[in-house]
């Protein structure tokens, strides 16, 4: 591979980023395990939880990418007014706090939702969202946009010269160009979504309808919070890592490597496909994602006037943490992507397999003997969020960096363009689009996070999601809806600014 060019760029940043990921994932797990007493083993209920966790994650990931393929294809082929805005907006569900998203979905698919109102008016039997299909529906709502973006990037990375050539030769575009691209993009995308669904529990529980929708993460939650059985928590976290490892190995087995020459970084132009079908796909996906989001907005607007001043402070804190986290995240991702290789890929998915609660608990155990946790709440949150967003950033940046190195590596070597110059002049300009996307995604993800802050923050250190939950706890449901809307708006704004900055003259 063209990886020979890599050692020229120093290894130190990659090693540091890798170490940090290892400390935060496996290190925290060890910290928890070390505090544990003798373990109790797994019960039949735990096995049922594992089975449910894996099956819902598998189906959710499969459905998400099956729908994402035609949507991404349509978005890659068609240009229309508002396409950029639509693509940005489609990123919104992914960053919503679970309860905000669930209430949005229920406003459409719930008992008193729009769908059931419509079915009732037509005299048709009503639909219940609670159950396995509800979990899948919610997970698709969260992850379809992400899958679409990853696959869309794959499509846009195919140089337009190849489509031109294929059109000239009347060659089958699907088999020659699109299928190889999908083979290289889909397994990683599937893996990421599978792992996201694997570690969720609030969605699965709320929409799954009850204890049959138990996930491993909920079992970890119970072990830590009610039983304080850290041994069990560590054991369950290991199982989560084990499932992740198997999934990762399978995904890498089926990942193909792209082997065409370089194009000229031009806008993709296409001569095939039906405009009508493309717009049907885009329309359906947009409706599925935007209608529940609109309900979040409508419910939130009324609550905006009831928001207390402290929300502004919480929002400011969240934005600062999000920006710090995003910069840290793409620095780490870039360092790892430049290094490349299989170990980096493994490090890159580790954070997804980690249980947020175990990371938080382990970090607390590591930090507590030396510092007051509340003094470190915001830096720790930024650091953990950066690490948790790393898989997404790496997934977005690494293929682009690989592509640049594969296409220009030998040329750069010959011209003796190395180190910073190489990064600044050759690589960064060519990966600006995925870099901006990764930066925006990391910032937005950090905005919505509720994992670590809850363990570290004191009365004065709340971030926006935490403040939202506190509002709900005090019966302030309307104000909480307002806070939810503010959160969505700020997250989208951050995402839009970063993403936009990455493609000022590009076409996405």
């Amino acid at each position: 591979m063209a990886r020979s060019a890599v050692p020229i760029i120093t290894r130190i940043p990659a090693v540091m980023a890798g170490m940090l990921v290892l400390v935060l994932t496996l290190g925290t797990l060890i910290a928890v395990a070390m505090r544990a007493e003798v373990g109790t083993g797994l019960s039949a209920a735990d096995w049922a939880a594992i089975k449910f966790t894996v099956s819902q994650a598998f189906v959710s990931a499969l459905v998400s990418i099956i729908i994402a393929i035609p949507v991404a294809r349509a978005l890659a082929r068609q240009s229309f007014r508002g396409r950029g805005a639509l693509i940005t907006l489609l990123g919104a569900p992914f960053i919503l706090p679970v309860i905000v998203a669930v209430l949005g979905l229920l406003a459409v698919f719930g008992r008193n939702g729009i769908l059931n109102a419509g079915l009732e008016a037509l005299g048709l039997p009503t639909f219940t969202i609670y159950g396995f299909h509800g979990v899948v529906l919610a997970h698709v709502f969260f992850n379809l946009p992400l899958a679409t973006r990853f696959i869309l990037q794959g499509w846009l990375a195919i140089p337009s010269e190849r489509f031109r050539l294929a059109a000239t030769l009347n060659a089958p575009v699907g088999r020659l160009l699109e299928w190889p691209m999908l083979r290289s993009v889909l397994p990683g995308t599937f893996l990421i979504i599978f792992l996201i669904c694997l570690t969720s529990f609030a969605v699965a529980l709320t929409l799954g309808g009850g204890p049959k929708a138990t996930t491993v993460e909920l079992a970890i939650y119970q072990a830590v919070r009610f039983d304080f059985d850290l041994g069990r928590a560590a054991l369950l976290a290991c199982i989560q890592f084990g499932i992740c490892t198997i999934a990762a190995i399978v995904a890498w087995q089926v990942t193909a490597v792209d082997g065409f020459g370089a194009g000229l970084d031009r806008v993709v132009q296409r001569w095939d496909g039906s405009r009508f079908i493309d717009f049907v796909w885009i329309g359906l996906a947009a409706a599925f994602l935007i209608v529940p989001l609109s309900m979040v907005v409508i419910n939130g607007i009324m609550g905006l006037s009831e928001l207390p001043f402290s929300i502004i402070q919480a929002a400011t804190r969240s934005v600062i943490v999000a920006l710090a986290s995003a910069v840290l995240c793409i620095t780490m991702a870039l360092a790892l992507a430049l290094q490349g290789g299989r170990i980096v890929s493994i490090i890159g998915v580790l954070p997804l397999a980690a249980s947020g609660l175990v990371v938080g608990t382990g970090l607390f155990l590591i930090v507590f003997p030396f510092w007051r946790p509340s003094d470190l709440a915001l830096p720790v949150t930024a650091l953990v969020n950066a690490t948790l967003a790393l898989p997404f950033a790496l997934r977005s940046i690494a293929p682009a960096v690989d592509g640049v190195v594969a296409d220009y590596g030998r040329l750069m070597d010959q011209l003796n363009v190395t180190g910073w110059t190489r990064l600044r002049l050759i690589i960064l300009p060519r990966i600006r689009r995925p870099l901006g996307f990764a930066l925006g995604l990391a910032a937005a993800l950090s905005m919505g996070d509720l994992g670590v802050i809850a363990l570290f923050a004191d009365e004065n250190g709340a971030t926006l999601p935490l403040a939202m939950y506190r509002l709900m706890g005090a019966y302030q449901m309307d104000a909480a809806a307002g806070a939810g809307l503010l959160l969505v708006a700020l997250s989208l704004l951050l995402f839009w600014i970063c993403d936009r900055g990455g493609r000022v003259d590009a076409d996405v």
Binding site: L103, K212, F228, S374, D458, R470, M477
Partner: protein, 328 residues
């Protein structure tokens, strides 16, 4: 130049030390909604600092269960002087940590039950109840609810204290027949949420006819929103109680201040803040009585409460029964 900076720094240090020496700090570990600005926290802080010549600091840690986990994580090195917000389903486990000291307080409490715990002092209490809409038909017992086709939302006992409360409620009413009760009520349960907030949100959005909450929940709607459309259903079985307690951490470096806080906690000044901020009953009814609106609430004839030791002992079995019945 160097000298002045140095001197200023030294002076600053001296002043800082003097300042800390003057105002000792009392750190109270509590649940999130207590410290929030809509909770009792800010008012309690102001009222106590007026009399204690100290700096009262709240540290929030999720809900009651997370509070215990936090304390267990910190162990004897904890900086907390008081832990406030555990309930009696958690105190047996809290006692086992050996981190708490006797409170030594005698106060005239107005709980419906006697109080003998020497380590944990109650600060408020409430009854669990299903809260529904006033215009709907209300069942009058757990069994009637289970046999009806009313749809309810409950919380998961593995992640929330109300969820655990319902588990104890069913166990207290039905004993060994609790599994049959869960079988019967399974088809009434729309869904199970991780915590109270999610469940209450679903109920207000019309996803269910009722939600597991407290008999005092309607008081919030009545007093804060002038909305009388929410009522708690009174069940002839009796209602399981949640008693929220605080305890003094044995390793505290300000034991007198901690004692003073616990005394203050059962005094009028603290207790009168509770009803309209925490939306629970005060542990000792203040001299001025309860706020208007509380008199409209249901007053269950029978109060159910397991001892902390019993609650801990039956939890695992009750959880397994619950899980088995609702997983069908």
């Amino acid at each position: 130049m160097f000298k002045t900076t140095y001197l200023t720094a030294v002076a600053g240090l001296c002043l800082a030390t003097a300042a800390t020496a003057e105002t000792p700090k009392l750190s109270v570990l509590t649940y999130d909604s207590f410290t929030s600005e809509w909770g009792p926290g800010p008012a309690v802080e102001a009222a106590f600092e007026e009399i204690c010549a100290c700096d009262l600091e709240f540290v929030g840690a999720g809900d009651g269960a997370a509070l215990l986990a936090r304390l267990q994580l910190e162990g004897p090195r904890t900086e907390a002087d008081i832990v406030l917000g555990l309930d009696t389903n958690l105190t047996a486990a809290a006692r086992e940590t050996g981190l708490f000291a006797p409170h030594g307080i005698t106060a005239d409490l107005t709980l419906p039950l006697g109080w003998t715990d020497t380590e944990f002092m109650p600060f408020d209490w409430g009854y669990f109840a299903f809260v529904g809409n006033a215009d709907a038909d209300a069942p009058t017992s757990l069994r009637e609810l289970a046999e009806s086709d009313i749809k309810v939302v409950i919380q998961d006992p593995r992640s929330s204290t109300p969820g655990l409360g319902l588990l104890m409620w069913a166990k207290e009413v039905y004993g060994d027949e609790a599994p049959q009760f869960w079988d019967a009520i399974a088809d009434n349960i729309v869904t199970v949420t991780p915590g109270w907030s999610e469940a209450y949100g679903l109920f207000l959005d019309g996803e269910a006819d009722a939600v597991l909450s407290y008999t005092t929940s309607p008081a919030y709607h009545l007093i804060a929103e002038e909305d009388d459309s929410k009522v708690a259903w009174e069940f002839s079985d009796g209602h399981y109680m949640q008693v929220e307690v605080a305890g003094k951490v044995a390793g505290t470096d300000v034991p007198e201040l901690a004692d003073q806080f616990l005394e203050f906690m059962v005094s009028d000044a603290f207790q009168s803040i509770i009803p309209t901020t925490n939306w629970m009953y005060p542990a000792a009814t203040p001299a001025d009585g309860l706020p208007d609106g509380f008199n409209t609430l249901i007053a269950p004839a029978t109060s159910l409460l397991k001892t902390p030791e019993d609650a801990l002992a039956v939890r695992e079995e009750a959880l397994a029964e619950w899980r088995a019945a609702l997983s069908q």
